[in-house]
């Protein structure tokens, strides 16, 4: 398969796909790679390597743009994020090893099953909140507190099950360059459902981490000549537009609605993974 040459209409389509990634980044802390790669390969006929490379560039752009907009309101848990980044970057560096031991179709089916399971856990916990209303409560070494829009007050949260968060981050990094994703689709549901993080804090912290996670893979694709600047450019510009447009929408949406959106996306991802594993 050859990499398509860039026409104005193709640039516009890639720009639109980047905008969706940017909006998802603002709302849920996802880089959008999990949708961008199948879109570029299945709908536009890009070779997998080229699609994964463009996707990783898009994830980096989403991470930087979203985090630059988010700093200052203390939704991002810097310290916890930097702890988990050790696991994601180590996972990313060792990604090639996983690819050698596990067939891609097995990996995709496994991914699909996990995605479905996590979607149901998220829906089952739709009314459970992780926040502690008392702002003076001890949030521990890695927890945090932030101003919550819904209640209008400062809320705190504690981090639970750190080993699980580290394992999820390692897996997210491990499949990052292989699948062309930042791993937000794995981290955000796990951090919210099992590790005590409120959804908005998990999303903001994930948005910070996916940039560094995707950078490892992007460097390798760039070094091997698979990352074409001309094809990445419209996606990166689309991310700017999407994150700009998505800011107000994401802040107004209720946490419950965001959880439903996340669960729905997980089901779509599961279906996509099963379809890809059959080919």
């Amino acid at each position: 398969m050859l990499v398509p040459t860039l026409t104005a209409s193709l640039a516009l389509v890639i720009f639109g796909a980047g905008a969706v990634a940017g909006a998802l980044g603002i709302a849920l802390g996802l880089g959008g790679g999990i949708f961008l790669v199948p879109f570029l390969t299945l709908a536009l006929g890009f070779p997998l390597k080229s699609a994964a490379a463009i996707s990783l560039a898009t994830v980096i752009a989403t991470s930087s743009a979203v985090t630059a907009r988010r700093t200052g309101n203390q939704l991002i848990n810097l310290r916890f994020g930097m702890v988990l980044e050790v696991a994601t970057t180590a996972g990313s560096l060792l990604g090639g090893i996983t690819a050698q031991f596990v067939a891609e179709s097995v990996l995709q089916r496994l991914f699909g099953i996990v995605a479905i399971a996590v979607a149901f856990v998220m829906l089952g916990r739709i009314n459970r909140r992780n926040v502690i209303a008392d702002p003076a409560a001890d949030h521990g070494r890695l927890g945090g507190r932030f101003h919550e829009e819904e209640s209008g007050g400062i809320v705190a949260y504690q981090i639970k099950r750190l080993p699980l968060a580290l394992v999820a981050s390692f897996i997210a990094g491990n499949v990052s360059s292989l699948l062309g994703i930042g791993g937000g689709i794995i981290k955000v549901p796990v951090l919210n459902a099992w590790c005590g993080m409120p959804l908005r804090a998990a999303a903001a912290t994930s948005a910070l981490m996916i940039g560094v996670t995707a950078t490892g893979g992007a460097i390798i694709y760039y070094g091997h000549g698979d990352l074409r600047p001309l094809l990445a450019a419209p996606a990166v510009l689309g991310v700017q537009a999407g994150s700009w447009a998505g800011v107000r929408l994401a802040e107004r949406a209720s946490v419950k609605w965001l959880k439903v959106l996340m669960a729905a996306l997980l089901v779509v991802v599961a279906v996509l993974m099963f379809v890809r594993s059959m080919r």
Partner: protein, 108 residues
């Protein structure tokens, strides 16, 4: 460092200052890379293909990829200033892993 600092981590103000610095690095990287990519893309689509357009696109992409790494470097420096050695080590490990990717990309 007293016992209270050890248990609770550094002061809120140190953490908030690092957050502001990270925001500035990412904002600069985002604006610089997007501007270069936009000009390069516009020149190419206007069939004004030139060496300049190619250089602008290439520079935009390199700045884009370097931005998260720059954010980690800033964090290392800030944690050294805070004498927060656990986080100096953690951020250095992240930086080393990114360095490993550069090695994997060019020396194989």
């Amino acid at each position: 460092m007293n016992r209270d600092t050890l248990r609770r981590g550094p002061s809120r103000s140190a953490n908030a200052r690092l957050e502001v610095m990270i925001g500035e690095v990412l904002r600069f990287g985002t604006i610089a890379s997007s501007t270069l990519l936009a000009i390069g893309l516009a020149m190419t689509l206007a069939r004004y293909r030139s060496e300049l357009a190619r250089v602008l696109l290439e520079a935009g992409l390199i700045i884009l990829i370097a931005t998260p790494a720059a954010r980690v470097v800033i964090s290392v420096i800030e944690y050294i200033r805070e004498r927060d050695w656990v986080f100096v080590v953690l951020t250095l490990v992240v930086l080393a892993a990114l360095g490993g990717s550069v090695v994997a990309a060019y020396y194989r």
